[in-house]
């Protein structure tokens, strides 16, 4: 066992233990570390945002004469109008601008990647039971969410099959989530046991 002598490792390990202590009960160390890391996180976001504004907006504008970039710079500043009641409405314009871009991109991307390509990939030869389950299961799930017709008779049976298929998917999601959460905890324990205490390699 060789305990680390690095200040950074010690601070990180004590911070880890402080957060873990919440499992026992809420305490001042947990709250202090929680607030510290939230503050660091918020500061980090400002720093990275500032980097983008400087490199993509300010520097090209001032050093290369691209004064048209004044438009997005002003739009960005107008976002902060939401904190002033009299001019709150102005902040809607940059939000609308971002919303338009985001919506346009997602519509165009979804049509190709998520709907058409996936529908094409679902057209498989029904020459084995796996493919039959995939095709019927996909139709079943889609018909479960189709509310224009009542889920009765054959349609109802297909929708019920779709419901059962979704339960398998949710079970797979739960199993995967458990694996993920345990992996996260293992990583923290490895940091404490290997990097800090030197108990494991």
């Amino acid at each position: 066992m060789s305990v680390s002598t690095s200040a950074g490792v010690w601070i990180a390990s004590l911070a880890t233990l402080a957060i873990m202590s919440f499992a026992y009960k809420d305490n001042p160390f947990y709250r202090l570390v929680e607030n510290l890391y939230v503050g660091v996180s918020a500061g980090h976001a400002i720093v990275l945002g500032w980097g983008n504004i400087r490199d993509l907006g300010w520097t090209p504008m001032v050093q290369k004469g691209q004064w048209i970039l004044l438009i997005p710079m002003i739009l960005g500043i107008l976002l902060y109008a939401r904190y002033f009641k009299q001019v709150f409405w102005i902040s809607r314009i940059p939000i609308a601008f971002l919303m338009g871009i985001g919506t346009g991109l997602s519509i165009s991307g979804i049509i190709g990647s998520q709907v058409v390509t996936q529908a094409k990939a679902n057209i498989v030869a029904l020459n084995n039971w796996d493919n039959v389950v995939i095709v019927l299961g996909t139709f079943g799930v889609l018909s479960y969410f189709f509310f224009l017709l009542e889920h009765k008779g054959v349609g109802g049976a297909v929708a019920r099959f779709g419901r059962y298929v979704m339960m398998v998917a949710f079970g797979a999601a739960f199993g995967s989530t458990v694996m993920g959460r345990m992996s996260l905890f293992i990583a923290r324990l490895q940091y404490l046991l290997a990097n800090w205490l030197g108990v494991i390699k």
Partner: protein, 208 residues
Amino acid sequence: MRRELSIAVTFLTGLLVVTAFFFTSKPLAQASQTIQSWGVIVSAFALGMASVNLIQVHVKKIARSKGMEWLYSGALLAALAGMTLLGISKGPANKTYTFWFDALFTPGQATVYAMTGFYIASAAFRAFRIRNIEAAILLVSAAFVMLGNVSVGEAMWKGFPVVGKWLMNVPNLAGQRGMMIGAGIGGIAGGLRVLLGIEKSYLGGSGS
């Protein structure tokens, strides 16, 4: 008039991006690329908004605090200010900046997320009940996926990874694909509502 202006901005920018995606036209592509690069700059400004909210909330907490409560908000604001000043003056790759990022942020957030491992165990014990056939299917599927994903499952029975893999690649695939296509169609419909100004909730105030 003010709302209509915002809706018009949404419509025009969205229309430009969508038409540039589907039609091959150099001027359209150029215009869309310009708008998108402007969008990156505006998004960068938006990163500071969470911090403004945090500052507002915690300054109020300090002003109204009793006992030692002010210490926590003070620590948050000090960390925020310190990281911001250090990062802007020296850059995020600076040694001191990286030190505090690795010493406080990484372990703090990583441990908060890691604690969900405890909560999922507690929730599974208290809430996961086989009350009906759907819950039974969910549990059996989860059990096979969990045991199929780990070596001890394979050591217990060679069939666990085989069944687990089948569940992931066949019924789960069907379920995920159905939900993906359904969500995609819903997303297109929702996006069209936003572009056409029918859905206005993103502007704040009263919705559509």
